[in-house]
Symmetry: C2
Subunit: 351 residues, 2 copies
DNA sequence: TTGTAAGCGTTATCAG
DNA sequence: CTGATAACGCTTACAA
């Protein structure tokens, strides 16, 4: 490969900007001096304006502006035992749905002065445990979890933190604290019912063996039985559920030569992988094989045929979680601490 | 909608776990007492084991284990003036490419004890400036930017921080500090050359008006001129480049009734939006209209026809950035502080 | 190699 | 409503 060409990146200069001077941070004391008050008054004016007289409040505001003061989050957290950090446990930051939830969460929390910090658990209990334990020192203001924490030890640990905690992505009984979730059980039921309506009788399941995968598998199997559908095969994997895993699972399934008309894949990416694999092997979809997913990936709509799947509003999960947290952080008591998020089956060409 | 069904979420209990006792954090002093040494020795053993004798090191290790000690990051940052935080400026956390880079970055930095914290700039100079200024107080160990910082004020501010900084996603001259990027200019040239080879003469451009969009537009226009292609129309938007924006831009373009054979969209999502819109309007792709993108979205491969696009290894950008940072944080001097990432044109059905 | 003393910048506490 | 004082838990600087 030849020498790369340089990009002429745009540079925007603000003419008012002084030269790159010293970066010594401004401390609260400097602001106080400028405003002619004591440091603690500045602190109060910033955190709880009502505690400070109108006149001083204004002088302090100007001094903050003039100095470009930002309070030191470490000092604040150290002394007060509470940081502005909201810890978000995400099993997989590449997941579109989880990213949307984090986006929604951040949109609500950032204007209130909190910072969302991601903890990538990578579907590992061990990592999760380490990360949970480190929270005692980090002292987050609240904790969000894309999912439900399964390890009892971690659950009780989090509860002991004494901060608002929101679990999500399932409609579980007795959450650690608060919950914003949908019923995986109902979602899987809807798929089973949809298969029955479409006249498919011999079905199969592909999904992760733990967590939501297990919930969806169990409910699917139960409702298939109820509706007289025969589950010919269940393929479960404990790896991340991506397109490659979906392809691989579909490959095994097809090579086993089962007599299957429709497959429920417990995540959209699995389903899309499966769909691609099946298509490449010359199967007509949905005539020779129907496929349904779970999760509302954007891909589900763009692929052809479009993927029939269960859809929930991921961003909204984050938004609601943020709102619950804020209420609690303000000392209010939300009337409901378990929010139910509606889901629906979107019928597209793959079934 | 009827009452949701509860999910029976799996709960895993570790039998060895004691009851949910007090959550009072363990301090370094407690570890020191248990190991029979002074706190500062524990501190040293944890940060720089070589400074402490073998025997004590082992006793301290055991004491840390026994107590479940985690050092308080706020106290550490406050006193040392340096935190374990690596700040990652991401314009859009929903971008698959940026998420991959962050994933790569985190994979390298976390084992070394650093924590990657995302700052969502949302393509806003104002937000970016606020976030940059807040770094003086946060005292990050290093800064990663998915892109090149354009505001001179912010550039000099970051430089003044005195920590390793890695810009990316462009092969720019004089970065703030270090750089891991590819040439957008070359990428756009490759598209122009590809259009020429395929015999398209009348072309158009769709992209964001600033940042990388501008780089790609400029280079594309230049090379079109060189190759004798006529750029009939350039549609630029200053919004986020998603599928809806692509649809909308394609709609305007088609309604203007230009005589266009091929369109270069400066991002894959724009291209995919454009492709969907064109297809829905009955245009045969690529016969009646060819479309190329930039960026290697997974969608590009799955959609039909597949999208011809410029591909770089996003995760690798993050990995390399992490490695550069670690070297500097260890006091080493990397021989090259500007890494070039190769790109290639992947030819699929859309052109 | 180890320890002592001091202080990072903020806020809880208590007094006015 | 405002201020003085001390303390959060750690690490730097210096001493032994």
């Amino acid at each position: 490969m030849s020498r790369p060409t340089y990009d002429d990146v745009l540079r925007v200069s603000s003419p008012t900007e002084e030269a790159s001077a010293e970066r010594r941070p401004v401390r609260i004391e400097e602001v106080a001096r400028l405003a002619g008050v004591s440091p603690i008054t500045v602190s109060r004016a910033l955190r709880n304006p009502k505690m400070v007289s109108e006149a001083r409040r204004e002088r302090i505001r100007q001094a903050v502006e003039a100095t470009g003061y930002f309070s030191n989050p470490h000092a604040k957290a150290l002394r007060s035992g509470q940081s502005d950090i909201v810890a978000a446990f995400v099993s997989n930051i590449l997941s579109e749905q989880f990213s949307l939830a984090v986006e929604g969460l951040a949109e609500v929390l950032e204007p209130a002065g909190f910072q969302v910090v991601l903890s990538r658990t990578s579907y590992s209990y061990k990592r999760e445990t380490t990360l949970v334990r480190s929270l005692t020192a980090t002292r987050p203001a609240a904790v969000f979890i894309t999912g439900v924490m399964e390890l009892e030890a971690n659950r009780s640990f989090l509860r002991g933190l004494g901060v608002p905690i929101v679990e999500s992505w399932a409609f579980a009984r007795d959450p650690i604290d608060m919950l914003v979730g949908f019923s995986n059980t109902d979602g899987a039921r809807m798929v089973a019912e949809h298969f029955a309506e479409r006249g498919y009788r011999k079905v199969a399941f592909i999904g992760r063996s733990g967590g939501r995968g297990a919930l969806r598998r169990k409910s699917f199997a139960m409702h298939c039985e109820r509706l007289g559908l025969q589950v010919q095969r269940e393929i479960t994997r404990d790896t991340v559920s991506g397109v490659p895993e979906g392809r691989e699972a579909m490959r095994s399934l097809l090579e086993e030569n089962h007599d299957v008309q429709a497959i429920f894949c417990a995540s959209d990416l699995l389903a899309i992988g499966g769909l691609l694999e099946a298509r490449e092997r010359g199967l007509r979809i949905p005539d020779q094989l129907a496929i349904a997913g779970f999760g509302d990936s954007t891909l589900a709509e763009e692929i052809s045929p479009g993927l029939t799947t269960i859809v929930a509003d991921s961003r909204n999960i984050g938004t609601q979680a943020g709102e619950l947290m804020l209420k609690r952080l303000r000392g209010e008591t939300p009337e409901r601490t378990q929010k139910h998020v509606p889901i629906e089956l979107v019928y597209r060409g793959s079934t």
